[in-house]
């Protein structure tokens, strides 16, 4: 073993390869809540394809608000208002445009929430729901897709014997993976994670993080986390937000080793406030 040709030399040098193509980008995105509060201010940020982009920042910095712009969740509550654009590539659709139906946006951009929120239906129906909404009724297609999605969410082996049991009987980590399977079933282009592990124990958290690293092979991922270490572990790019502004966006390596802005450094080193 000693003196053998040097292994993994490529793994040792920092990745200087050119960034992957863009999947989406927000351009001068501002957001106003119905009560007049301006939660986001002119955010311009790229989202690279098949990469994990983490949004970090203190509570109330607007990171979740920003994330929920990507699938127009804010449309569910009256009075909210967007400015600017989120452009989805390659077809250059502005997700926020008035003539783009939020339902269409949500069919292309899926979301996993903070607390696992399986429907009080069977495991099978939870995963199949997105397909049923799209009018899929063929039992074979549904079966295939449910299995594929559960495998994708690393849950298949644990639940294949009890697909007809209620989803809420699963453990917290399993429920969250069920929600990931539900989001995957419709083959979204972007998957949004809103603090997906904040309600989970460390072991379940680790398995979800590992799953996220696996999933980026098939889908572009945007994740909000209040846990900086999680951002460091799972993401390829990190955005630091503060008071509705994007302070810094860079490769995660750079953000956590030598951030460009003093505000970012203060936050990630715990000198904040």
């Amino acid at each position: 073993m000693l003196g053998s040709a040097r292994p993994g030399a490529a793994g040792l040098t920092p990745d200087a390869s050119p960034p992957p193509p863009l999947k989406a980008e927000s351009r001068d995105l501002s957001f106003h809540y119905g009560n007049g509060f301006k939660a986001l201010n002119a955010i311009t940020m790229p989202v690279h394809e098949h990469r994990v982009t983490a949004l970090i920042g203190p509570s109330g910095c607007g990171k979740s608000t920003f994330l929920r712009c990507f699938n127009r969740m804010h449309d569910l509550y009256p009075g909210n208002r967007y400015e600017g654009a989120i452009v989805l590539h390659p077809d250059n659709t502005n997700l926020l445009a008035d003539d783009v139906d939020p339902i269409e946006v949500r069919m292309r951009v899926s979301m996993v929430f903070q607390k696992p929120n399986p429907f009080p239906k069977s495991i099978y129906e939870n995963v199949a729901y997105g397909l049923r909404v799209r009018g899929v009724t063929n039992k074979n297609h549904l079966d295939d897709k449910v299995e594929e999605s559960l495998r994708g969410a690393a849950l298949w082996d644990e639940v294949k014997q009890r697909l007809n049991e209620v989803g809420s009987n699963l453990s917290g980590g399993q429920q969250q993976r069920l929600c990931i399977a539900r989001a995957l079933a419709t083959d979204p282009e972007i998957l949004l994670f809103d603090e997906p592990t904040s309600a989970l124990d460390p072991i379940a958290t680790a398995s979800i993080e590992e799953l996220i690293s696996e999933l980026k092979k098939r889908v572009t991922i945007l994740i909000v986390t209040h846990n900086m270490q999680q951002a460091a572990r799972v993401s390829d790019y990190t955005a630091y937000m503060y008071l509705g502004e994007l302070i810094e966006f860079d490769r995660t390596d750079t953000i956590f080793f030598k951030p460009g802005r003093k505000e970012t450094e203060d936050y990630i080193t715990g000198r904040f406030g």
Binding site: L76, P78, I103, R106, F113, F119, R132, V133
Partner: protein, 309 residues
């Protein structure tokens, strides 16, 4: 100088004092509960003993009679049953739809606020007022007559606020994240309502409906106001017939009486034998109400078992 108890003796003294208060409050609570329960039990037992002699199978199968010993509640319980069917058939679709609309569709502005306040207040309107309204509207304006349908509609109106409020409460108990979860996979508003909101709020709605019905079953004032007969020695026409078209809705238009009115009638007679009849009918009415409440509890337990978040 310290304001906090320091020595173990002081601490033990404090705990003993606090525990004495605990005991005192428990005692007060038990007494309060005892008063309420004992009163109900006394009333109920008194009624049960008075009516015990009349609680025979024939009591259910005989029409009212001038002779107390031969009088039964056949027309009363059939009337109550039919009126309840009409009430449920009207109040449930109306109330549930209105509740869903208010929670899921209505824009949140002052108009909805006003409607909301009104609905809440309607639940507190004295039932005789509903009776007067029904007399003017259903009996005279619409010419529906002093019939089963009028009574059903009146009681439906009476419990509508209860059903609406129960529906809204049940819908509000569904966490926002379940709703968001449905929208997030691309469901439309109607798909969300149909596949999630209605099924998940069903236990709460059913409970509300049954509680409302068990209130309606004992209502006397509005029924008297619209002119229910107090002495009926016949049954409404059967809803199912032997001849085409087999189904008949003639019963809707039939005159009727209901349990509370039958009781009211009997208690107003001078002959104490009729008072025993009234007590027996009252016992049955209490059991009907308790049974409905029991059904509500059982349904809620059964249906909620699989709905967790």
């Amino acid at each position: 100088m310290s304001y906090v108890a320091q020595t173990p003796e002081q601490i033990r003294g404090l705990i003993a004092k606090a525990k004495r208060r605990d005991v005192l409050f428990v005692a007060l609570g038990v007494i309060a509960l005892g008063i309420g329960f004992a009163t109900f039990l006394a009333l109920f037992l008194d009624m049960l003993l008075d009516g015990w002699g009349r609680l025979r199978p024939e009591f259910f199968t005989q029409f009212p009679s001038r002779r107390a010993a031969q009088a039964g509640i056949l027309s009363a319980w059939v009337g109550t049953f039919l009126v309840m069917i009409v009430t449920a058939a009207v109040a449930v679709p109306l109330g549930v739809s209105a509740g869903i609309y208010l929670e899921e569709y209505a824009p949140k502005n002052w108009v909805t606020d006003v409607i909301e306040i009104n609905i809440t207040n309607l639940a507190g309107v004295p039932s005789i007022v509903y009776g007067l309204l029904a007399l003017g509207l259903f009996v005279y304006a619409f010419g529906l007559g002093q019939s089963v349908q009028t009574a059903g509609l009146t009681l439906a109106l009476l419990i509508l606020p209860v059903v609406i409020v129960a529906t809204r409460e049940a819908i509000r108990a569904i966490p926002a994240m379940i709703r968001e979860g449905a929208y997030a996979v691309g469901a439309t508003r109607w798909q969300t309502v149909k596949d999630h909101i209605i099924p998940y709020s069903m236990p709460g709605i059913l409970t509300g409906v049954i509680i409302g019905m068990s209130r309606a079953i004992g209502e006397t004032a509005p029924i008297i106001t619209i002119g229910a007969l107090t002495f009926i020695a016949f049954l409404p026409p059967a809803p199912v017939g032997a001849e085409f078209p087999f189904l008949s809705f003639e019963w809707l238009k039939a005159p009727f009486t209901v349990m509370p009115i039958q009781m009211f009638n009997w208690t107003s007679r001078p002959d104490p034998a009729f008072h025993a009849n009234a007590a027996a009918a009252g016992t049955i009415l209490v059991f009907m109400t308790l049974a409905m409440n029991g059904l509500a509890i059982w349904l809620r337990y059964r249906l909620r078992k699989n709905i967790k978040w």
